[in-house]
């Protein structure tokens, strides 16, 4: 029987707690995929070219998917309409860059980058504004109702696509790269496209900024805590609904940015661009662990690399390669690469 006394707090003498060790295995898997592809491809220059293309594609997918994984983590909202923000971003870019044709046609790299960054900013603003309306009108009435979320957000994307057709037309619109971003750098025998390097740089910048925001700011702390236990965050006195709206808008803006980058990567846009990318981003957030930003990052890179390697080695398998990757990873880690605790 316990006897309650007023003795001074006893030293708790805890057993040595191991300092949290970073889980390197998913990163090692990324390295293993890179290394395994090298002998299979045979040519080092082709391997470098494919790897840079895969990393660029992966980082673009990461930019698009990072907001979606946080939205799911924070509020359990399955937003199948995320693709509409991608499509809007890409189409806004066609208009902005079309309107800055003298900048994109210029030989000056600065003017080219100016046009690209202007398109990105306007696309992010437009996608963010659409995200605000989307959350208010479509998502808010179905909080906690997963089946309805799937149906209504998919419906929202279909409506969005049709509106895009009304504004920009139903046909494919070219989105050519500005003059100075065309072509490749040749390193040894490897050819590395200039735009892919830019995509890698922007992707890494977004990743670093996201990590900084999530780990070094109070808002980031609230988001990470909210992903684990939103009820407790509310019990501490924070309005998580407002936080969620902020994350939803930021995630939509990032999807808009990703749309511009994806459109430039493909050098054309179609109204169905969002639906096309949707499958990839859901694979990524499932692989990464729902709600995990680092998992989303590693998952996106795996998906980008796998798509490029299989596209070269076995084009017929390429369509299924990412589904196969997802199945393999879920067999290894059923909650994803970096599962979020308490989910």
């Amino acid at each position: 029987m316990n006897t309650a006394t007023t003795t001074a707090p006893a030293a708790t003498a805890p057993a040595a707690i191991p300092r949290a060790e970073f889980d390197w295995k998913p990163i090692a898997l990324l390295g293993a995929l890179l290394l395994a592809a090298w002998p299979l491809i045979g040519s080092t220059s082709t391997w470098v070219t494919l790897s840079v293309a895969g990393l660029a594609m992966g980082l673009i997918i990461f930019i698009i998917a990072s907001g979606l994984t946080l939205v799911f983590g924070l509020m359990d909202v399955l937003n199948f309409g995320h693709g509409v923000f991608i499509a809007l971003g890409a189409f806004v870019a066609t208009s902005v860059m079309g309107g800055m044709a003298d900048w994109t046609a210029s030989d000056s790299l600065l003017r080219n980058l100016g046009a690209v960054f202007a398109a990105m900013l306007v696309a992010m603003a437009a996608a963010g504004a659409l995200g605000l309306a989307f959350e208010r009108v479509i998502v808010r009435p179905v909080y906690g109702l997963h089946l309805k979320q799937i149906l209504i957000t998919m419906g929202g994307m279909i409506v969005g696509e049709e509106l895009i057709k009304v504004i920009w037309g139903p046909l494919q619109i070219p989105l050519p790269l500005p003059t100075a971003l065309r072509g490749s750098f040749v390193v040894g025998d490897a050819s590395i496209e200039k735009y892919r390097l830019l995509a890698v740089a922007i992707g890494l910048l977004v990743f670093v900024l996201l990590l900084f925001a999530l780990n070094r700011t109070k808002v980031g702390l609230l988001i990470r805590a909210g992903v684990q236990d939103r009820e407790m965050v509310e019990s501490l006195g924070y309005r998580i609904r407002q936080l969620f709206v902020g994350v939803f808008v930021a995630g939509s803006a990032l999807a808009g940015l990703g749309g511009v980058m994806w459109g430039l990567y493909q050098q054309s846009v179609v109204p169905q661009i969002g639906a096309q990318v949707n499958i990839l981003i859901f694979i990524v957030i499932i692989i990464g662990g729902l709600g995990s930003t680092l998992g989303c990052f590693v998952g996106a890179l795996l998906v980008g690399l796998m798509a490029n390697y299989t596209g070269y080695l076995a084009p017929k398998v390429a369509l299924f390669s990412n589904i196969g990757l997802m199945v393999a990873i879920l067999l290894w880690r059923p909650q994803g690469l970096y599962p979020v605790t308490n989910r």
């Binding site: 309650a4 707090p9 708790t12 805890p14 700011t217 109070k218 805590a225």
Partner: protein
């Protein structure tokens, strides 16, 4: 005119189709420790969650400092209730396991944006109560033992001054030495005039801390009075608490 900090009158709570609280009347006097006792399933946790607005009050009123915070006079949202100065430590502790001890504390301190802005004097006092938290300050909370997590849960609730602490079964599953730490901490808080509503099944802890006691059964308060009176009256203990009396000692 009342010196009750928290007052529940005829509170009913439904969780989905289930009717859990059937007209709870409970007064929590300011500056005292009120123990909420009762068998498993009596409605103790639901009462705390209803006060916090985590379950809406379907009938009756909940008042904090005379101001309605739940019920027919208006249901406030949980964050607004917390901002009135009420801290809640749930039975499951609600620790953010992926965050460090430091991050958990920064989050609980609404006025601090980063660790450097925490009140160092108060932090030292907390470290005095729970030395393990200082030792593992930069460790992920998920790596702490059960007792250390409970300390962190309580520390989070007191990282800034709060008028009312709602604490749900803090001694559950803890070693006696850690329970003594918690009792000491609650005594110091009481000495600082903090009001505590404590759900507890450990009668010894209840006896050591409680000024007032309310006993629940089947979603109602079946006894309310002084803790000393209940502690001295074994017949009453058996009548109110039955076999659960020694269950968690």
């Amino acid at each position: 005119m009342t010196d009750n900090l928290l007052e529940l009158q005829g509170v009913h709570t439904h969780i989905g189709a289930y009717h859990i609280l059937h007209g709870v009347d409970l007064s929590v006097p300011a500056g005292q420790v009120t123990m909420l006792l009762g068998r498993n399933g009596a409605g103790k946790t639901t009462t705390l969650r209803t006060v916090m607005g985590l379950w809406p009050t379907s009938q009756g009123t909940v008042q904090f400092k005379g101001r309605p915070i739940g019920g027919q006079d208006g249901q406030m949202a949980t964050p607004d209730i917390a901002q009135l100065g009420i801290a809640y430590v749930p039975e499951a502790m609600g620790i953010f396991t992926d965050l460090t001890v430091q991050e958990n504390m920064v989050l609980a301190a609404r006025s601090a944006r980063r660790a450097a802005e925490l009140d160092t004097q108060r932090l030292e006092w907390i470290f005095g109560l729970f030395p393990a938290l200082k030792k593992f300050w930069l460790y992920p909370a998920g790596k702490l033992s059960g007792g250390q997590k409970q300390m962190l849960a309580v520390a989070r609730a007191i990282v800034e001054p709060r008028e009312l602490l709602l604490i749900d079964e803090p001694s559950k599953g803890l070693a006696p030495s850690i329970i003594n730490n918690l009792i000491d901490a609650f005594r110091q808080l009481k000495a600082q005039n903090t009001t505590i509503l404590l759900v507890e099944q450990n009668f010894q802890m209840a006896k050591a801390l409680g000024d007032r006691v309310a006993v629940m059964d089947n979603g109602r308060i079946v006894h309310a009075g002084g803790m000393a009176q209940l502690a001295e009256d074994e017949m009453l203990q058996h009548k109110l608490l039955g076999l659960s009396l020694g269950a968690h000692q």
